[in-house]
């Protein structure tokens, strides 16, 4: 079995052209992750620039209204650029600089990762190109302009289903054609080794902070932590330091779109099968011949036919649970959080909020639940309005 495995999942299924680059990346990461200067620089940026640590907010109104567990929100939406993506991007861009790279490329779905990458590139004076599915450049037009303001070039990807998976395809193609000066800032805990490990490590700051914060506030561990899962980076970050705490339930919320009984969903664990794609062995939505299925979600960030290999293994070993949440449930939770707590969260994060609405009552006020609020929802307001039949033009 090759390197970078989580159970049977993971590996390095990529073209030979990229192999030496991936090996170099792994060597650089193994060195710099223990390098004091590198960590000092990253931690300073996380604190002074990204605004960490992020708050662990006690959602008192929501708790009273639901009448079960105490609800805490891990406020990744308050980070600079408005989502958890900045945690990984600052780490990878600093690493790329140390490797002598002058240019970064990245895929993006909702645009959060693209905005974060463009931001880090602007800050660190690197050239930046972002690949985004044509369908997503349409539904997230504001984020496209945001990236351009930050100095990035945005390519609208018109191949395949014109969404996140196609953006990944195109970014990989671009990387294959130009590796010497270019680093691919992969945005989730997916792709070939070492990406799932690198991204998880940079995102694990979420659970490192949350675990300390909840122990201080409650004096005990939470009953459950939950997060939305597309590729799975905020969930992996939210789960990681709780994995050894067997009494803490880890719940990943997948996009069930119009329902897992339809063919319009992106619920990889619920409906996918084992496969090999985008550099990794994991679960994918695919047909009997291994053709990757078109997937659907109201959330551009969860609209991905696979899931990171470490999640696939957490599922196999039953350490984490993965549940499907529909568009309708997510939109209702999006509206509920806005009205109850005065927080407009990303439609991605609303999938996790929706699950908390379902399970909060199973617990007593002695218990706490942490929801990872992975991003803010400004970008989604127009889409939610359209979902509710209100035409708003940005």
């Amino acid at each position: 079995m090759s390197k970078g495995r989580f159970g049977v999942h993971g590996g390095q299924y990529i073209p030979e052209t990229l192999m030496n680059e991936i090996i170099r990346l792994e060597e650089a990461y193994e060195f710099y992750k223990n390098d004091k200067d590198f960590n000092d620089e990253l931690n300073t940026l996380l604190k002074e620039y990204a605004g960490r640590p992020s708050l662990l907010y006690y959602a008192e109104q929501m708790t009273k209204d639901l009448g079960g567990a105490k609800i805490y929100l891990k406020r990744e939406d308050l980070n600079h650029t408005g989502s958890h993506k900045i945690n990984n991007v600052l780490g990878q861009c600093l690493l790329a600089k140390r490797m002598g790279k002058t240019r970064v490329i990245a895929e993006t779905g909702a645009g959060q990762h693209g905005v974060a990458t463009a931001t880090a590139a602007a800050l660190l004076n690197m050239e930046c190109e972002i690949f985004m599915g044509k369908e997503d450049t349409d539904r997230q037009a504001l984020n496209v302009y945001r990236m351009e303001l930050l100095g990035a070039k945005v390519h609208a990807v018109t191949s395949g289903t014109m969404t996140l998976k196609d953006a990944v395809n195109e970014t990989m193609r671009e990387w294959t054609s130009r590796v010497s000066d270019t680093h691919y800032v992969l945005g989730s805990v997916m792709g070939p080794h070492p990406f799932p490990t690198i991204v998880r490590d940079f995102q694990s700051v979420i659970s490192r902070e949350a675990r300390e914060q909840i122990l201080k506030l409650e004096g005990k561990l939470p009953a459950a932590v939950m997060a939305c899962v597309g590729g799975g980076s905020n969930a992996m970050g939210m789960f990681y330091h709780f994995i050894p705490d067997k009494e803490v339930r880890l719940i990943g919320c997948e996009a069930a779109g119009r329902g897992i009984h339809t063919d319009q969903h992106a619920a990889t664990i619920a409906k996918g099968t084992l496969g090999i794609f985008h550099g990794m062995k994991s679960y994918f939505c695919q047909d009997e011949y291994g053709q990757i299925a078109p997937v659907y979600s109201i959330s551009a960030g969860l609209d991905y036919p696979g899931i990171g290999p470490e999640h696939a293994n957490l599922h196999d070993t039953k350490r984490a649970e993965y549940v499907p949440v529909t568009d309708e449930e997510a939109v209702a939770a999006f509206e509920y959080l806005a009205k109850t707590e005065g927080i407009i969260c990303a439609i991605e994060s609303a999938h996790a909020v929706a699950q908390a609405l379902k399970v909060a009552k199973e617990y007593t006020p002695e218990d706490s639940i942490i929801i990872c609020l992975s991003g803010r929802g400004d970008k989604d307001v127009a889409a939610i309005a359209r979902y509710r039949g209100v035409e708003i033009y940005e």
């Binding site: 073209p15 030979e16 030496n20 090999i276 985008h278 011949y289 291994g290």
Partner: protein, 258 residues
């Protein structure tokens, strides 16, 4: 001597590629027979895939055409079995790993043997992962072809030493597609390959003109052409047969001059 080895035993080889089922299975079979008639020494058939990450726009579009017209792995096995009744030419599949994995490595390899597929070229199966498939395929006399890229450098020796069938030398960075110029120092790569392996080596990616084919066949044991042939299919559709024959003939002639 295997069928693949025979492709290289009478001078420089010309290897032609089409996407299986583009635009239809019937036409694909006809185009392959035209390539054989035109003098191709080995046929590469692409199993269409939803997300071909190593392909440029020309072959991406061919994949879409083939899938839209109902091509499946099973239908391509049937097509190869039908071609096998007419010719003994070596045939390899170019496929991404997932269609093989999903079919089952053992069943897929067995079907290859039954249909008469001699080898597999898998762009997303590097040396590090090859062992999960190669021994199973070998048990059914199917070679997993190794690829060597411009960036392979220190990896060339181990990849070449482990190679089966022939060695596919990727001429350029990036994805498949016609290129006006090939800038990689292929002589140095071939030198390292020759030191490590007695397998024949053919160069692919970017080759479209007889001049390029002759030049590449001069450096290696053969030239591989994909996108340029698929472009003919794209241009002429169902009527591409005679154009493919003429093109392959001109390319084979050029290769023989090398």
């Amino acid at each position: 001597m295997s069928r693949i080895e025979k492709a290289f035993d009478h001078g420089k080889a010309f290897i032609g590629f089409v996407t299986g089922g583009d635009p239809t299975l019937e036409k694909s079979e006809e185009f392959i027979m035209e390539m054989v008639r035109g003098g191709a020494d080995l046929i590469e058939i692409g199993i269409p895939f939803s997300d071909p990450i190593a392909e440029g726009p020309v072959i991406q579009d061919a994949n879409i055409r083939a899938l839209a017209n109902g091509a499946t792995t099973d239908k391509l096995f049937d097509m190869v079995a039908s071609i096998r009744k007419k010719t003994d030419i070596p045939i390899v599949f170019l496929t991404y790993l997932n269609p093989v994995f999903k079919y089952g490595y053992e069943t897929f390899s067995q079907k290859c043997q039954e249909a008469g597929v001699d080898g597999l070229i898998i762009p997303d199966l590097p040396f590090e992962e090859k062992q999960e498939l190669a021994p199973i395929a070998k048990a059914y006399d199917v070679d997993v072809i190794s690829l060597i890229a411009p960036t392979s450098k220190d990896r060339i020796t181990k990849i070449a030493a482990d190679a089966a069938g022939f060695i596919y030398v990727v001429s350029s960075m990036g994805v498949t597609g016609v290129r006006s110029e090939i800038q990689t120092d292929l002589d140095s790569i071939l030198k390292l390959i020759r030191e490590a392996s007695d397998r024949p080596a053919a160069i692919g990616f970017g080759i479209s003109t007889p001049k390029q084919a002759k030049e590449m066949a001069g450096i290696a044991d053969g030239a591989i052409v994909g996108s340029a042939i698929v472009k003919i299919v794209e241009k002429y559709g169902d009527a591409a047969g005679p154009h493919i024959y003429e093109y392959v003939k001109s390319m084979k002639d050029a290769v023989m001059e090398a």
